[in-house]
Amino acid sequence: MRDLSLHILDLMQNSIRAQAKTVSLSVSLDEEGMLTLAIEDDGTGMSEELLSRVMSPFATTRTTRKVGLGIPMMAENCRLAGGDLSIESTLGKGTKLTATLDTRSIDCLPLGDLPGTVVTLVTMNPDRPEFILRCRSPKGEMEFDTRQIRQALQGVPLNEPEIAAWMQESLREEIEPIFGGVIL
């Protein structure tokens, strides 16, 4: 993956496949330049057995292939950038993935097109789950919540092209001042 937003898109697909009703993503950058990404869902969760081998590139729940590269690739990129990746999960309750990266490391991937990732997730999954995005840095913070958008739209699906264009522009305007010049 070329940037973190692509990893985020990939990892959040796991929450969607786990039948989550709500998936939240938090992206926060502290004063020292440590970046923390947290993805939390209320999906099916994992058994202890699956959780114990989920970091292996040969663990997958899919049947079309025998490899599952999403989590191990992200974990490797975190470690390369002086951070780490951890997963907590409870069967029937949900999963929380936390990734840390030191943005001062030369090996830290850029954040990339986070608005593009969020719009892709929402438009590809217009009915479920609800997505919540929180971004924070010393420069400011923002929150995006599909429940508010759904309420404003009163029954119009979230995957209509005009709505997607509005979301993308709106997210771009709010995210750039928070991370621009540091990790974008």
Binding site: T120, T123, N159, P161
Partner: protein
């Protein structure tokens, strides 16, 4: 968030489009994009956003975009299926945002699949 009032104005406009579509569901063209790890790593996201953008610009009422997982042909990603009413599905491989304009114009609007981008052409090479 950008003003929700603005979103409500877009809602009114979109509502008319949706009502038009509902009148004739059988006329819907479906665009399905592979969005598993392999697809994403190969560039599926900008392809999907390019389809949304092109559909929005052209005001195409009868086109929906959705995602699918990995179908086991990772080396051909990003892959896109285009299913037009009454026709067999056409699978495009190694898609890029640059190719999207031509697929929309020639295939979705004018009904002529872009043969050189299809899986058949890629497998013949």
């Amino acid at each position: 968030m950008k003003s929700l009032a603005e979103l409500q104005a877009i809602r009114e406009k979109t509502l008319n489009r949706i009502n038009l579509r509902k009148e004739d569901e059988s006329d819907v063209t479906r665009v399905v994009i592979g969005m598993a790890t392999c697809g994403i790593a190969a560039g599926a996201r900008p392809v999907m956003l390019a389809f949304m953008d092109e559909i929005n610009k052209r005001g195409l009422n009868h086109v929906t975009v959705s995602q699918t997982g990995c179908i086991g042909m990772c080396r051909l990603e990003p892959m896109v299926d285009v299913i037009t009413p009454g026709n067999e599905k056409v699978t495009y491989v190694h898609m890029t945002p640059e190719k999207v304009g031509r697929v929309v114009a020639e295939h979705i609007v004018n009904g002529r699949p872009v043969e050189e981008y299809t899986i058949g052409a890629a497998e013949d090479k």
